[in-house]
Structures are given as C-alpha cells and as structure tokens.
Subunit: 310 residues, 2 copies
DNA sequence: ATCCTTATGCTCATTACCAGTATAAACAGT
DNA sequence: ACTGTTTATACTGGTAATGAGCATAAGGAT
C-alpha cells in the first residue's frame, strides 16, 4: 500500500548471433546497455520494451522476457539522493545483426566483457583467475569465511572434480567483483587485498550494466536448454551446423555433433527446405527451416529439452 | 538514462506448508498479498524484503527470490494518474505456520484461490472450466483466433493427449481471466460472451494480486524440481512421507512413493536422526533431518533434479 | 493368528544421454 | 584416376535417469 516514488528505467539486453559470435547491443562505445524510459502509454512493460527497442533498432524483436529488477544502493551510481533508482531489465532476442548504427548503438561480442566464459577453445587464462581468487579467499579475516569463499570459487569454476557449469555466469562475475578483479569493483571502492590487484578482467561497463549482462547471458544459457529460443537468433534458413555453432556460441562450449543433430531432429523443431547450402569445402549440407507451427505449443509447454547438453 | 519517477511497492508471496496444505500469507481477510515500501535504507531489494517480512511475521525467512516486476496499466487499480505503479514481487519460503496474527495477516490455503490447481484427488470440476473456456474460444471473431485460443486451452489444461503440466499456473489463470471466468476480469471490465458468465472460479483478490500469486506458485512448482528448496518449508525433523506430502501439496498432484524416496536418498539431501516418528497406525517411520552442509553447494550448483517428478 | 496400515527394499523395462565408429558426398591437389 | 581433406549423416553400444510395479517389514487393532 505504501508506495514510495522512485526513479525507474528500462534496460535491455539485446542479443544476436553472427558467425558463431554472440553479440549484445551496446551504446556509449560498448560501455552501456541501451536504456529507455518507463513510458506510460503502453499497456504492459513488455509491450513498452518491444516498442522502444523496435523503434531504435528497426528490427523486429523475436523474443522478449523480463530478466530482473535491480535496485541496489551501492552498485548504481545513478541513485537519486532522495530515493532509489530501479532498473527493470529485459532480455531480447533478434535475428541477424542489424546494420542500424544510427544512434550510436553497436553490437559487441559479449565475450569481450566475459573472456573467461568462452571455453569453446579450451579454458585459457583460468588458472590466473583462480589463483587470484584464491588469494582473495585467503585474505578473509575468519577461517569460516575462507572456507565459504573457497567453496564458492570451486563451485563457480568447476574445480576439484566438479564440472564447469556454464549457467553460473552471474556467480562468477560476482566473485570477481567481490575479489576486486574487475574494473567496476575498484571503481566502486572495493579494495583488492592480493597483489594481483587490478587484473581488470574483460571490458568494464558503466554502473552495474555488466552485472545485468551477466544475468542475461546466464538466463539465455539456461533457457536454450529447455525452450527452443535459439531459432529466434537464426536466419530463415540454416544448416544444422550453423545452428550448432549458434548454440555453442551462446553456451560457450562445444557440443557433440551427432548427438546435437539427433536431438534437433527428434524434437521435430526443424524441417528440410529441399535447398542445399553453398559449398564450403566439404559435403554440402541441407538447409533447414524452423517449424513455426510447432512453436506455439512448445513455447510454453514444458516438453523435452530442446537443445544443448554436452 | 531517461529515468521517469514512478510509484513503487514491494509485494511478497510468502509460502508455508502445514499438514499437506500449501499456505500463503495474506492481509485484508485474504484479499491482498502483504506489501511494503521500497525502503532506501537497505543495500539491496532482497535485504529490504527480508527485513520487512521478518519484522512483520517474527519468523525467519528461509529463502527469498525475486519473482517478477509488474507494471501493467490496465491491471493495477493503484496506478498513478501521472505515471505507472510498479510492483516488485518476491517469493519467500518460511518454516511452519507462524502464529503471528498480530497485524491482521492470515495464512490461507492457496487452493482457495486456485481450486483447479489441486489435482491430488483427481481433476474435479475441470470439465466445467474447459467447457466455459471453449465457449469463449468459439466466441472469437476470427477463425485463426479460435484456433489460437483452443490451442492455448488444450496446452494449459492438458487436453487431447497432452499431459497436465503443473507449472502452467499463470497461463491457466490468464486464460480464465481473459475468458471472464474469474471475478477480477468482470471487475476490470472484461465481458464474458458465454452464458457461463461469472463462474467466479476461486476466491478473488484485490488488484492483480491473484496473478502475482499464480506467478509465485508457478515459480515454486518449477523450483522444487531442480533446487532443494522444499526443506525451507519443513520442520527440523520429518518423515519421508511428510516430505512427500509437502511436495505433493505444492505440486498439486500425487507422487510415486518408492521413486520419491529413492530420489531423496540418492540425492543425499537428508540424513537419519535415529529417532522414530510417533506411531500413526502403521509401521513407524524414521525421522530425517535436512543436511544443511550439502545445501551450500547445491544452492546454486546445477546438479541432479532434487525432487518431484511423476 | 489375521487384517490393516505405513515403511522400506528391490526389480524391470523404457527411455534419455553420451561417446565413438563408419560411411557418404563434395572438393583440391598430384 | 587416385589420394587426402573436409563436412554431412547414419548407426551402435554403454550408462544413467525414469516410471511403474512387486515383495517384505514392522507396527497396531480385532
């Protein structure tokens, strides 16, 4: 009943995939996510986001879902003096990389911000990160805290026999933030107790936008394992390898080709077009198209896991 | 960047389970969910919710997560004239039913609001609902809309060979709302074209609180299948049947006893206390306790599905 | 002793999942 | 023409998860 008045904005994590590279739409030369006002003329928030994004990018948004609402006092430089600033964040998927650079928006490979999340070609640089994190863990005042931190590190980075979980994007970023290993942390006044201070992993963003992006990546990585949303990122026709490369780009790891194909086909999510792809040096591949008719049903019926897996 | 100023409030879906009945904390004699202000003195929203709830109920909150942020113009009577009212909703789990009726808060069985969601003793009353929904579908102006509506109905209610999906709580409520079969719809000016008008299924709530509750139930039902959160609702010691009854209460359907036990034990989520439960007419059951030590790890590591299934 | 009730242990078939092998279809170079 | 390279596609075996059932154990009540 008690409703305080606060400053609120919409923030969008807009994702596309081009050539096996996951892209996110940014402004301010890659330092910010696009944000817009909470316009009262739309019936729902969702509709507001969609309208605003489509007006800016001139591209239809295939899929939109709410991501999270952030309102942390200490992470948002834009907080009002009187109240709190709320960021209502959305995740949007769009087909192809739009050429619309009109208003200073650019598409950036999201692994520029999270290099450690791309493990398609091995886990390069992990040891440095883990070392620095362990230094931070050891710097905790109480033994119980040291243990707690070490456990968090081990779980997040798949150490000690655990396996890497590609959905823990946010947990990993938050660890690095708390340990002072990303630029935003030092900016926010977090001191790094280890001598590896200021590793400055990945490109920073303004305010807490990188955290929002991490949330979006995590959500999308989780989503593709149980909802057929990858197709929102694909062109009208694609080969199964194209599709696999896109999933791999999002998940940050490679998949078993044969099993991937079987999964896709037994899901009956695609159908042949009868057209063959351009030759690329090997046996030419069939072009497939997404079965839009099945989407309606699968869009919210929890059936089998549509894609991904090891 | 453009940040409009809006009215904002916190809303909590607080859940407990007593005697195989899922309970939700309400105010205004069951017509509202508890809501509080967006107090700027807390570091995060989460902390704010926790503090405010614990102060009101005098009970520790075992688990809190953000649910959704609603800001629909047409569903929220509390909208400002100038701007938009935002409801940031949280889901909270608490152990046992607190006796705290201090400030007019009462615990209500959530199936009072969603009778059709409880299928533990068969699907009573479904045919009436489905009939009324089909009447609404047929009343659509265009054939394509009729088909779309029929599909939504079939998916949501598991018709035509499909199976009931207990996580589609929100979809079912929204269908009933659109079809004018719940009291809120007529209140909001939605006319019901069929003669089954005003079925008035379930108890109504103020504003869009029933929709928020539906969202909470859906989320919780999904959550228990992949995170061990049920234990937040259990007393310190319980029998495996107690645990099963709680899961069944939340899921709204019965589970296979032996398989449930196998799942719980192979997850190593519980340990024996050595104590036996009070005799209840059959062979006495062992009392178990939740292994709090395992929680840390499982809390965010995506391992095996902890509970539920058919 | 017999029956009822609940607890608990075990089996079995089906299916999902993972990894590997084998073959097919194109092209480039010798 | 033959060989090697690349990519596509088919098939196979092992393991684990899942769903449904049977059987037995341990208590109380008749």
């Amino acid at each position: 009943m008690v409703a305080s008045s606060v400053a609120a904005e919409l923030i969008a994590v807009l994702v596309a995939v081009t050539e096996a590279a996951p892209q996110v739409l940014t402004i301010a030369e890659g330092a910010s996510l696009p944000s817009g006002p909470l316009s009262p003329e739309h019936r729902s928030l969702q509709a507001g986001v969609r309208a605003w994004v489509e007006r800016q990018t001139h591209h239809p948004l295939g899929y939109v879902e709410q991501l999270y609402t952030f309102a942390d006092n200490d992470r948002n430089a834009a907080s009002h003096a009187d109240g709190r600033a709320i960021s209502i964040c959305y995740l949007g998927l769009t087909r192809e990389q739009p050429n619309a650079k009109d208003d200073g928006a650019t598409w950036c490979n999201w692994y520029d911000y999270f290099p450690w999340e791309d493990r398609r070609h091995g886990s390069v640089g992990d040891s440095t990160i883990v070392q620095a994190l362990h230094a931070w863990a050891e710097a905790a005042p109480k033994p119980s805290q040291i243990r707690a931190r070490s456990l968090r590190i081990a779980v997040a980075f798949g150490l000690e026999g655990r396996r890497w979980n590609e959905e823990l994007v946010l947990q990993r970023y938050e660890l690095l933030y708390e340990a002072g290993l990303v630029a935003e942390a030092t900016r926010d006044g977090i001191t790094c107790h280890s001598d590896t201070s200021g590793l400055g992993l990945g490109l920073p963003m303004q305010q807490d936008h990188r955290r929002i992006l991490a949330t979006g990546i995590a959500r999308l990585r989780a989503k593709i394992t149980y909802r057929p949303v990858v197709f929102e990122l694909m062109p009208p026709m694609f080969t199964l390898l194209d599709l696999q490369r896109s999933v791999e780009a999002l998940a940050g790891r490679l998949l078993h080709k044969q099993n991937f194909r079987r999964l896709v086909e037994q899901q009956e999510l695609v159908e042949e077009t009868g057209i063959m792809a351009e030759p690329t040096g090997g046996r030419p591949a069939k072009l497939f198209r997404f079965r839009a008719d099945i989407l309606q049903e699968r869009a919210y019926a929890g059936t089998k896991p549509p894609l991904a897996r090891s």
